[in-house]
């Protein structure tokens, strides 16, 4: 019983060891400049997408169309800005575009009862076509010279923290979060207890899409352009981060704090290996091996504890 209580500590422990190793091996790792760029450049977008993905995983599904929602948002943002609207209108339009993707997913999963994996796979394929057609096969659309937005220093980080707080509290403390986790862990039981599967699925799909929409607006504003199909780059890392994060919960459930730690973990490994000065190509191998190792470690310790 006591051992079980220690389980959530495995990930932070491994994480701590890795940070110490990097701090010793890579001189610039702990410098303020490096930490700042780590958080502001690498952490923010993946974190937001992963927060959205947390909801999909917590409800027992997965969302492969996060990149599509993100891309639709950044497309609408850039196009609306270029056509002379203010940034607030553009951002609202972008979020609406992302929510549209979520709504399609909700109809497919909740209405037609397609499994989340396949439903969002379909959305992803359709979204890919739509973007290729809209962008003439993948040409970026740039924000016109005079309209560029300076994204001020810490704003993106504040957005992440705000979203994390909102999504995290709702998932961990609210009634909605309990229903969602019930649906995720015991779908039949949730159904027979009278929970509305359709409502939960809709909320989850929209919540995931909304987070991706925010990421899309931030991406469009930071790079001052819409680059077609750029959102898919976040997909696999976001899934990885969420599942690494589940090891933080004693029951192995998806949770926002764990997800953020998972994102930080992925970023720190990439950044640390870069600073150590390894061959660029070996870095990717090492990243994969380390993630594999952490997953193995936490799943093996969970099993050992359960057997004991």
């Amino acid at each position: 019983m006591k051992l079980r209580a220690l389980l959530p500590l495995t990930l932070p422990l491994v994480f701590g060891v890795i940070v110490v190793v990097f701090a010793v091996q890579a001189p610039g790792f702990l410098s303020a400049g490096n930490l700042k760029s780590l958080v502001l450049n690498n952490f923010v977008l993946l974190a937001i997408v992963s927060i959205g993905m947390t909801y999909a995983v917590a409800a027992g599904g997965i969302d492969l169309s996060v990149g599509t929602a993100l891309d639709f948002a950044s497309f609408s943002f850039v196009v609306l800005l270029n056509s002379g609207h203010g940034w607030a209108v553009a951002a609202a339009g972008a979020l609406a575009a992302a929510l549209l993707v979520g709504l399609v997913n909700a109809v497919l999963i909740g209405g037609l009862r397609i499994s989340p994996f396949l439903a969002t796979l379909g959305t992803l394929f359709i979204g890919t076509s739509a973007q290729q057609l809209l962008s003439d096969g993948g040409q970026p659309i740039y924000i016109a010279q005079g309209l560029k937005l300076g994204v001020a220093g810490l704003t993106p980080l504040l957005v992440v923290l705000g979203l994390a707080l909102f999504y995290g509290v709702l998932l961990a403390r609210g009634r909605l979060g309990r229903e969602l986790l019930a649906q995720g862990t015991q779908p039949l039981l949730a159904y027979y207890s009278g929970l509305s599967v359709r409502r939960i699925v809709t909320v989850v799909a929209l919540a995931t899409a909304l987070a991706c929409g925010v990421a899309g607006v931030l991406l469009g504003a930071t790079v001052s352009a819409y680059v077609p199909l750029s959102g898919n780059a976040f997909l696999l890392n976001a899934i990885g981060a969420v599942f690494i994060g589940t090891t933080l919960s004693r029951q192995g459930r998806a949770n926002v704090f764990g997800t953020l730690l998972g994102v930080l973990f992925i970023n720190v490994i990439a950044n640390g290996l870069l600073l150590i000065g390894w061959n660029f190509y070996w870095q990717q191998v090492a990243t994969g091996v380390l993630i594999f190792g952490v997953l193995t470690f936490s799943f093996a310790s969970r099993r050992l504890v359960e057997l004991a």
Partner: protein, 316 residues
């Protein structure tokens, strides 16, 4: 009754697409073009066979059941291994054996991670995908490694009985795997392990061995597909990881071509050809290739919605 109708319905859709293209594009049904489609479907088809084996052995639940996300990356690595070794001047048989061994070794790692370490397949193969993509980069330094070999010439240019070699690879692989997975005692047990693991265990099967073997098969398929890909591109190319989602789509699309609406090798073959015919037909009709993904997506959704409507019954 309804199931039979749906199954015929899906074969009907398949035929309707063929007929539609045949009417619209006169060259479509020419022997040359059909052969073309078969050989162009070889790479994706063989990869999707691998995924089908894993799905059969692990169950079709996508998050908890069998899944191999490392297939496309495994192909990239095997193609790089083949090209590098071949350029070093190793004997052809040795190069080919080492390439196949590389694919199977990757399958072994995935399988052990799933069976021994009890990682969920989704995560285990996601992590190994990253490792493989990195190893491919190490080998190729992110460039195209072109290579030249009699085997590749034979695969890309050869033909027997008027059927191109790559099409033979697709058909022979499909035939062998159909015998193994659909018609052998091993295949029957693999199905049992995937669909009713507890019953299989109670009946005395060693589930872990069967699941492990399905990953070995999947790794082997990746290596065979890598040889096809090396023949098609005269070496290894970058960006093979992009094939992953198409492979997943084909394997799950194949479900609708089987009698009981489960993953099967012939079903996957049909699905791979269906996608091949779609892409080819669009090319002949001068429809922008940008539409292909979307049509593929709509097809998956249609097929899955129809089959889930049938298998639903009273449950959610």
């Amino acid at each position: 009754m309804l199931e039979a109708l749906l199954r015929r319905g899906s074969v009907g859709v398949f035929l309707a697409i063929l007929v539609g293209f045949a009417v619209a594009a006169p060259n479509f049904l020419s022997v040359g073009n059909l052969a073309n489609v078969f050989s162009q479907s070889a790479i994706l088809g063989v990869l999707a066979f691998g995924l089908t084996c894993v799905i059969i052995g692990g169950g079709s639940n996508v998050v908890a059941g069998g899944l191999d996300l490392s297939l496309a990356a495994n192909l990239g690595l095997c193609a790089a291994v083949f090209s590098r070794l071949n350029n070093v001047g190793l004997a052809l048989w040795l190069t080919v054996s080492l390439t196949l061994a590389c694919g199977v070794a990757v399958g072994l790692v995935n399988g052990l991670a799933v069976v021994l370490l009890r990682l969920p397949p989704l995560l285990a193969t996601l992590a190994s995908m990253n490792v493989l993509a990195g190893l491919e980069l190490v080998l190729t330094e992110n460039t195209v490694v072109s290579t030249d070999s009699p085997l590749l010439d034979l695969l890309s240019g050869g033909a027997w009985l008027g059927v191109p070699a790559l099409a033979w690879v697709l058909l022979v692989t499909a035939g062998l795997l159909t015998l193994l997975i659909q018609h052998s005692p091993y295949g029957l047990r693999l199905h049992a392990v995937g669909e009713y693991p507890q019953a299989a265990e109670a009946a005395g099967l060693r589930n872990a061995r069967y699941v492990l073997s399905s990953y070995l098969l999947s790794g082997l398929c990746a290596a065979v597909a890598a040889l096809c890909s090396a023949a098609f591109f005269s070496g290894s190319t970058t960006g093979s990881g992009d094939m992953l989602l198409s492979v997943v789509a084909i394997a799950f699309l194949g479900v609708v071509f089987s009698r009981r609406l489960v993953a099967s090798i012939p079903g996957t073959l049909f699905a791979a050809l269906l996608i091949g015919f779609l892409i080819n037909g669009f090319q002949l009709l001068n429809v922008s290739s940008f539409w292909v993904n979307g049509v593929q997506g709509v097809l998956i959704l249609l097929v899955v919605a129809a089959s889930s409507a049938l298998s639903r019954g009273g449950h959610p």
